[in-house]
Chain length 155, copies 2
């Protein structure tokens, strides 16, 4: 016999609802800003920015996927499109014949360097600057707690 669930309290519902709505709206707004300012999708931005922060602007495909929490398949498809647009190129991996390395092209580099400032402003405007330092701190802690729980057991 299944136990009756512990339904959410009013406060818990408020938090859960607010979270879901915040995500939907915030994400949509950031995507709009990003598209207008730089002609990029959030996915594009994330790939470019992860690569831009990588040593030598290059990274093994699966390393990139792990770091971004993307499936390999998703990344593979997306890289194909970005390569088409000239933002990245794939190279063979010297040390592992199966492997591939993605590299930011010059255009990719320019693109992310131009896109970053307005994107940061957008994140500030719609999120960060609305919160007090204390709220930022609590928020970070919450996120890390949840992430920690969800990734414990991963080696």
């Amino acid at each position: 016999m299944t136990q009756d669930p512990r339904w959410l309290t009013e406060a818990e519902q408020r938090a859960w609802q607010a979270y879901r709505r915040m995500f939907l709206l915030l994400n949509a707004q950031l995507a709009r800003d990003l598209a207008q300012d730089s002609g990029l999708s959030e996915a594009d931005y994330d790939v470019l920015s992860a690569l831009g922060a990588s040593p030598d602007r290059r990274r093994r495909v699966s390393e990139l996927a792990d770091r971004m929490l993307w499936s390999r398949s998703r990344l593979s498809h997306h890289l194909a499109r970005m390569q088409q647009r000239g933002l990245v190129v794939r190279e063979e991996c010297a040390t592992d014949g199966r492997g591939a390395v993605v590299v930011l092209t010059d255009e990719g580099t320019r693109t992310i360097e131009r896109a970053a400032p307005p994107h940061v402003e957008s994140v500030r405007r719609h999120f960060i600057d609305l919160l007090s330092p204390e709220q930022i701190e609590v928020f970070a802690t919450i996120g890390e707690t949840v992430v920690g729980r969800l990734t414990e057991g991963d080696h």
Copy 2:
């Protein structure tokens, strides 16, 4: 001349990163649980649950879309699939010849009633129960602040 952006401080970056990772992981986990427990996607669940909470288990299509923060188009496509599966039906609207009303079928009603308890447990396990009441409160406030800013100006 564009001003140099105010890059995020370390604390701000922590919060932003934690948020993005939390969303990715939490969403994926909830979707996995939901699919295993009830064979539903999150989108399915959201529609069923919104309809289940509606008077008479029915709602005008665009009213539902607004309430869920979905585009009409998305909802229309999704309702088509759910109708195919027998979870909802569309009826004509008595008071507006253009309008349509979506209604939960008996099967849709049974489905959401069975799906809700394990989903709530899942939300608790991976999120709510990891936080203190104080954290829940701060989190709700943050969400509402951000949502409020993003929706101000909507009538």
